[in-house]
């Protein structure tokens, strides 16, 4: 199984993703934003960073990179795509995922370990029992998820909410547990089909035991196991 890590000018988490993949025995290679050939890749990750300086809006320019038309085609064929942080922002700008990521309500760039609870979802990338709490770092300035009421209803009804910000015990504070003001404490969502997944936290930074938590491992291994199963 080969993971393609899409590299935009200004991406800065691509090495962490490749390192995490290698740590888990997954083959991973970079895909340059100007490339248009995704042959040979079984899954794609759009890593975090500040693609194109985050000018206009986060992900707004990256979305028109030559590689993105191929990423859209890959996703439409059912190929698994995960967007982490800036990658999530790019996926919303590309309309592969609904909604948008607004500026954090506190106007602060947040950077800390964050408890998250797994929800029951159709996501191909996450298969944790509902209510499982994982500790994964967040690191962003625009992670305040927003969508209209109708979309939120649809996300909840279809099992498209994959992760929510929560308290360490898995509960959600009455005023919300999102450190960035995200609607309904949403930290990660997937498309209706489940193959496209976007999240603000950084699972790649929770893979190597050196950094203190390995809670991010299932975010890479689950999809690979699923692909291996499909391939027989």
């Amino acid at each position: 199984m080969r993971l393609g890590v899409v590299l935009f000018p200004g991406s800065n988490c691509e090495q962490d993703v490749v390192h995490a993949a290698h740590e888990l025995g997954i083959g991973a290679e970079y895909v340059w934003h100007g490339d248009t050939d995704l042959a040979g890749f079984d899954a794609l990750v759009l890593p975090g960073g500040f693609s194109y300086g985050d000018y206009i809006r986060c992900g707004a320019v990256a979305r028109f990179s030559p590689v993105m038309s191929e990423v859209v085609r890959f996703a439409e064929r059912g190929g698994p795509v995960m967007g982490i942080c800036n990658g999530f922002q790019i996926l919303t700008e590309a309309h592969l995922l609904p909604g948008a990521l607004l500026r954090n309500t506190g106007l602060k760039f947040i950077c800390h370990p964050q408890p998250l609870r797994a929800e029951r979802s159709v996501c191909h990338w996450v298969n944790l029992p509902e209510g499982t709490v994982v500790d994964i770092p967040v690191n962003h300035n625009e992670g305040n998820y927003y969508c209209d009421a109708e979309t939120l209803e649809r996300l909840n009804a279809n099992g498209q909410v994959v992760l929510r910000y929560c308290e360490p015990d898995g509960s959600r504070a009455p005023g919300g547990s999102a450190p960035n003001g995200a609607l309904d404490d949403i930290a990660g969502i997937c498309n209706e089909r489940g193959n496209v997944f976007g999240l603000m936290p950084h699972p790649e930074r929770a893979v190597d035991p050196l950094v203190g938590t390995t809670d991010g491992r299932p975010f890479f291994t689950t999809v690979m196991a699923r692909l291996a199963e499909v391939a027989g």
Binding site: I56, R57, A60, V61, F64, T92, E93, P98, G99, A100, L102, R103, N104, T105, G106, L107, N144, Y146, C147, G181
Partner: protein, 78 residues
């Protein structure tokens, strides 16, 4: 050559953290009667392009229709 001015603002009901902060800061400075402060983007475009094309530019890149409204002012109308 035509000149356009584009104003991009958050849609009604979308929280604007910089605007809310400016609103509080102005109140802290003693200004009374402030109803609301919104902060958006101002873009100048000079191009051999018609209004329809500029509208398309807004829809595709300059604004995100999911969260933002835009208003185009053609030079001379301002």
């Amino acid at each position: 050559m035509a000149r356009y001015e584009v104003y991009v603002t958050y849609k009604q009901g979308i929280f604007d953290p910089p605007g809310a902060t400016a609103e509080r800061a102005l109140a802290n400075l003693g200004y009374e009667g402030i109803q609301s402060v919104k902060i958006g983007k101002y873009i100048q475009i000079e191009a051999d392009a018609g209004l329809e094309t500029v509208r398309e530019m807004c829809e595709r890149l300059l604004a995100n229709p999911v969260i933002e409204d835009y208003r185009i002012v053609t030079e001379g109308e301002a």
